[in-house]
């Protein structure tokens, strides 16, 4: 399990905020709250991006998402320890997961586009094979890589610089995806394929290839998530499970659109989670997320993005 002691840190931050008001040391307290929020936000956005692309674009719920994350993390750790600089190693992890994803799409997922429920089961089977296969081949743990960049002091408390980098990466990731889907040729073709597959085919688009590439992109983003979080986590074959519940919750609350859905959903959930964790502890943070998902599905069946789109009109 991930234990950052967020609750403790935020509780300290809140109480130090009270003192800060007296001592006019507001900045560190505010920074601390933003740090907690940014950490949760980055985790949700980065871990859900791959799932959101695959679900939003293709309607497939990919239960092997966690295993793509694990794949990315493992490749990142291995290549970093082989001497590659960390950013390159992370890129290696993302590419490796993307390639595996495209192979999986060709072998299994391609046959299941018309059977979304069956695709859940098939990807769950793949996830079982992957987790256990890695356990058998690479053993119960793998030597990790330490968190780089050290820490910095703001006020009286020290903060990990790498977590601030992660927050920046999450924002960068959203911007990058926006550019990819709305400013490039691939993006136009992909969106056309998703909206009107028959018409796209009639205009000469190889839709099967687009589906394959989109799935590969989703898997690659999962690999990126694994790579980015590899330095902060213990390398175990089941590490994907750490991400999966949070990323599902974000995608479902967000709905089909990544920018109108998953990003604001991650922001809202990050607040819920950080607050509940601070007041009641880690387990209640998770319970809060799950209850949020149940309520959101009931109130807004299309998720936040459908709700926002209707509200825009």
């Amino acid at each position: 399990m991930r234990t950052f002691g967020r609750g403790f840190v935020l509780a300290r931050a809140l109480s130090s905020a009270e003192q800060g008001a007296r001592r006019v040391e507001l900045f560190p307290a505010i920074f601390s709250i933003f740090y907690q929020f940014g950490d949760a936000f980055a985790f949700l956005v980065i871990s859900c991006a791959g799932l959101a692309v695959i679900f939003g674009m293709m309607g497939i719920i990919n239960l092997a998402h966690g295993e793509f994350i694990m794949c990315g993390a493992y490749v990142t750790a291995a290549s970093a320890r082989a001497g590659l600089p960390l950013p390159l190693a992370i890129a290696c992890g993302a590419v490796a997961a993307g390639v595996v994803g495209m192979a999986l799409e060709r072998a299994v997922i391609r046959h299941l586009y018309h059977r979304p429920l069956d695709s859940i089961i098939a990807t769950w089977g793949v996830s079982l094979i992957a987790t256990q296969g890695v356990l058998i081949m690479l053993g119960p743990t793998m030597q990790g890589i330490g968190t780089p960049l050290g820490s910095t002091l703001v006020g009286e408390r020290s903060y990990s610089v790498y977590r601030i980098v992660l927050f920046a990466s999450a924002v960068g990731l959203l911007v990058g995806l926006y550019v990819l889907f709305y400013r490039t040729r691939f993006g136009v073709i992909a969106r056309a394929t998703i909206q009107r597959p028959a018409m796209a085919r009639a205009l000469g688009v190889d839709t099967r290839r687009v589906y394959g590439l989109t799935f590969g992109l989703g898997a690659g983003l999962a690999g990126l998530a694994g790579g980015l979080y590899a330095p902060t986590m213990t390398m175990v074959p089941t590490m994907g499970a750490t991400f999966i519940v949070e990323s599902f919750v974000t995608v479902v609350v967000g709905g089909a659109d990544i920018f109108l859905g998953a990003a604001p959903a991650a922001a809202i959930l990050a607040v819920i989670r950080a607050a509940l964790t601070a007041w009641y502890g880690q387990l209640f943070g998770q319970i809060g997320l799950l209850v949020a998902v149940i309520v959101v599905i009931r109130v807004m069946p299309g998720g936040l993005s459908a709700f926002l789109k209707r509200w825009q009109r």
């Binding site: 299941l112 979304p116 769950w124 089977g125 793949v126 079982l128 256990q132 009931r298």
Partner: protein, 365 residues
């Protein structure tokens, strides 16, 4: 795609009461009809009944463990295979009923067959909880994969909640919930008998009791599925809009089916708790929640017989794999799952039964 065949009312001879229900043991929604099928079924039950004569008590107790799970599998078969709603959270009702059984029996003891009262209450609670969730989902018009996500969330919430109930303040009467380590020390099922209660520890007696329950539930489900209720359920699965246009309140039917599935999952939960005298939160976790889906998907969800046989076969296969090489068991399970979905989407047992049925003509629906 199998055509929906509703029995023609004008042809069917008018039957009433018990005879009507018995006639529903065969029908359009269940495979197997005619003397050939029933002789085979009777032989299977006879073989199962004779089994303890050829095995020691421990092995029989283990076989009883297989039977424990069949109720949850059959319940999921009704909800998913017949009703078309993939529930990922049957283990929520399993766990709730299991914990309830523990709380009740630890508090009131096991005298005078009180364990059976506890069983009934726990199963009812599981069913009522499922009805509540079902009302929330189906009357909220939640469909498709979202049913899976809501149910999965429910079971994960329960798991997470139960996992944090460590500490003496989490107790209901005498019963400590015990957090992640789970609850233990509840009595097994007991049968009041002359000269002292018979305790149904894992062994031959429990095996017979469970076998009887499986046969009863199986027959009951056959009758229910061939009754108008089952026909409407299948109509909803095939085409919800059409079923609604024909005047059926599809929300009500799906909710009731979901409640039935929950009660059956609860039955498994109680029996599991009574079998091993313990229950832990991880019995509601992600892995546990996915297991019933594997049994039902691999066996065949569209037919209650295939579901029952598939469940027993997969659990037995999984356990023997675990004995011979535990690390490869999960891989084999995953391969089996992917293979089933890609090659025999209706399930292995279902497809096999369908083939055999075509050969003999009698096993057909």
């Amino acid at each position: 795609m199998r055509r929906l065949e509703l029995p023609d009312a004008s042809e069917a001879p008018a039957r009433q009461g018990l005879r009507l229900w018995l006639s529903r043991l065969e029908g359009p929604q269940t495979m197997g009809r005619g003397p050939g099928f029933w002789v085979a079924a009777a032989l299977a039950v006879a073989a199962a009944a004779a089994y303890p004569a050829f095995a020691n008590d421990y092995v029989v107790g283990n076989a009883a463990y297989f039977l424990v799970w069949t109720f949850m599998a059959m319940g999921l078969g009704v909800v998913w295979g017949y009703g078309g709603a993939l529930s990922f959270g049957q283990t929520a009702f399993f766990g709730l009923a299991g914990y309830t059984y523990g709380v009740i029996t630890i508090n009131i003891g096991s005298a005078f067959g009180a364990t059976w009262l506890a069983l009934l209450l726990s199963v009812a609670l599981g069913g009522i909880f499922a009805l509540l969730i079902g009302y929330f989902m189906f009357y909220g018009r939640i469909k498709g994969v979202f049913i899976g996500i809501v149910t999965l969330s429910v079971t994960l919430v329960l798991e997470t909640f139960m996992a944090q109930t460590a500490g003496p303040q989490w107790r209901i009467g005498e019963a400590r919930l015990n957090g992640f380590n789970g609850m233990s020390g509840m009595p097994p099922l007991t049968v009041p008998w002359f000269g002292g209660d018979v305790l149904l520890y894992a062994g031959t007696t429990l095996y017979y009791v469970l076998l009887g329950m499986v046969v009863l539930v199986y027959m009951g489900l056959r009758m229910l599925l061939n009754a108008p209720f089952g026909n409407v359920l299948v109509a909803i699965r095939e085409n919800p809009e059409r079923a609604e246009m024909l005047g059926y309140d599809i929300r009500l039917y799906q909710m009731l089916a979901f409640g039935l599935g929950g009660a059956l999952a609860g039955t498994s939960g109680v029996l599991y708790t009574a079998w091993g005298q313990y229950i832990t939160p991880s019995s509601m976790g992600l892995t546990s929640a996915a297991l019933p889906i594997v049994w039902v998907a691999v066996g065949g969800r569209r037919d209650i017989t295939a579901t029952l046989l598939g469940c027993l076969l997969v659990i037995a296969g999984f356990q023997s794999l675990t004995i011979y090489g535990s690390q490869y068991a999960l891989i084999v399970m995953g391969v089996l799952l992917v293979f089933t979905v890609l090659v025999t989407p209706n399930g292995l047992i279902y497809t096999a039964m369908d083939r055999v049925g075509r050969l003999f003509g009698e096993a057909r629906r």
